[in-house]
């Protein structure tokens, strides 16, 4: 859920953007990270862990723990907590290992 009236800080975001998560159209604020934009839409599962295939989401929100990676505009393993959301951005959850040997990587 978006915080529209912060208890101590002035309003920060004015512009709205539309982006997509797993092909679903969602609204967010321009200036928010992808991780926050998803959380604002009550989406907290960002993918599954590689080995045990368990749900994972934002943990450190600071670009360090790598728990929040997603696919953004076709690029796999992008940290959603350090990437700003953009109009029309296509985001999808990473449910398994990336296809590093795939055609898109020149192999």
């Amino acid at each position: 859920m978006q915080i529209t009236e912060h208890p101590v800080l002035d309003k920060k975001f004015n512009e709205e953007v539309i982006f997509y998560f797993n092909n679903q159209s969602l609204k967010a604020k321009k200036g928010q990270t992808v991780a926050a934009a998803l959380m604002a839409n009550s989406i907290r599962k960002l993918g599954a862990s590689r080995k045990l295939n368990k749900a994972r989401g934002v943990f450190c929100a600071n670009g360090r723990c790598t728990s929040c990676f997603v696919t953004i505009n076709g690029l796999e393993h992008v940290l959603s907590c350090t990437t700003l959301v953009e109009e029309g951005m296509r985001v999808s959850s990473n449910e398994s290992d990336p296809d590093v040997r795939g055609e898109s990587n020149g192999n």
Partner: protein
């Protein structure tokens, strides 16, 4: 790319170092991994005091904005969304923006990567909804989104209570504070007062965190038995580790000092590491409070400026003396153990390399031991 001084990290320490170096006429490049400057100050709505030269309380976010303004008005070349990823054999630093990688050739580096929150492991700790206290603070104050409605705070230090208070002000219900020690760690009366209606479980741990794909149930193990509660957010506040990877890349020697946060680079009274081209500043040089974080940035910058000839020795010594005096005063007042550990680290490193103590350090260090 070429410069006199390269600053790694655009938090309070890095910004303070860059502003100081720019003012003395050095060419400065500042690299930060994020899309905006300010580091952790960006989400710190709590008030800080004392700051260098001031007893007045200042909100963290306001302090950050003030430093950003000064930096943006300076000649410092700012590279946001750039990450230091390595060093070349000639010690040039490799930086990437995710698309292209290039070398920065610098005379001196001031490395201020800050600190990272420590995780705490319990069954279910990876479920969405379990996050660090810092993550929750980023979400509410910087990103303006609610990370949950019902929260359990794991840890009872000042920082966890501060974040709990801020979450509460945003409308989040704090269901419990869970502390594995026999009493609350924080002794801040104001924070404790604000949490007075929150159940506190002492000598307790989180037995499990469960939910299908998101957290919805937390079981707390207490001496009186197991308590089950509905919660969609667990905030882990388990302290901080200095970030040391950039120093490892630069071949800096490390030392272990529990009171400073664990492993961290050795440094001398000028905040110069065992690699003479690398200075250190901020929480990476020992977990501390905002006043010392800012001061270490200035002291490191002065060392680099003096070595490069941008500041006369006499002037550098005079300034350093004042800064060390203030650092000692603030740090001893806020956390004497931290200052003692810092002194020990510095003394140990000076002894190891056979380097004499300058007068400015003897003075404050003596003061530390004499109480």
């Amino acid at each position: 790319m070429e410069t006199d001084i390269l600053v790694i990290g655009g938090g309070p320490a890095g910004m303070s170092a860059a502003i100081t170096a720019d003012r003395a006429g050095a060419r400065v490049i500042l690299v930060d991994e994020s899309f905006s400057l300010g580091g952790q100050l960006r989400q710190q709505t709590q008030h800080f005091a004392p700051l260098p030269g001031s007893e007045e309380k200042v909100r963290g976010t306001a302090l950050g904005n003030d430093l950003i303004k000064k930096l943006e008005a300076s000649k410092v070349k700012i590279l946001k969304k750039h990450i230091m990823i390595g060093s070349y054999r000639n010690e040039n630093i490799g930086v990437t923006d995710g698309e292209k990688t290039f070398a920065i050739q610098s005379q001196k580096n001031i490395i201020a990567p800050g600190a990272a929150e420590k995780a705490k492991i319990f069954p279910g700790w990876t479920i969405p909804g379990v996050m660090t206290a810092g993550a929750a603070q980023i979400l509410i104050n910087r990103e303006r989104v609610l990370p949950g409605k019902n929260a359990v705070m794991l840890g009872s230090n000042d920082y966890s209570l501060e974040v709990a208070r801020q979450l509460k002000a945003c409308g989040v219900t704090i269901k419990a504070i869970v502390e594995d020690k026999e009493q609350m760690i924080s002794s801040d009366m104001e924070l404790l007062h604000d949490m007075k209606n929150v159940p506190v479980y002492l000598n307790s741990t989180i037995e499990s965190a469960t939910g299908k794909e998101e957290l919805n149930k937390v079981v707390v193990k207490t001496p009186a038995g197991l308590y089950e509660m509905e919660a969609d957010l667990i905030c882990i506040a388990n302290g901080f580790d200095p970030i040391i990877e950039p120093f490892e890349i630069m071949g800096c020697n490390l030392a272990y000092h529990k009171e400073l946060g664990g492993w961290l680079p050795e440094y001398n009274v000028y905040f110069q590491t065992s690699n003479p081209s690398c200075y250190i500043a901020g929480n990476a040089a020992g977990i501390t409070t905002i006043g010392p974080v800012l001061l270490t940035g200035e002291i490191a910058a002065i060392g680099a400026l003096e070595e490069l000839g941008f500041m006369e020795q006499e002037e550098a010594e005079a300034q350093r003396k004042e800064l060390w005096k203030e650092l000692a005063e603030i740090e001893k007042r806020e956390n004497e153990k931290t200052f003692r550990a810092r002194s020990e680290l510095i003394e140990g490193f000076h002894q190891k390399i056979g380097m004499a103590f300058p007068e400015e350090f003897n003075m404050v260090n003596g003061g530390a031991h004499n109480g």
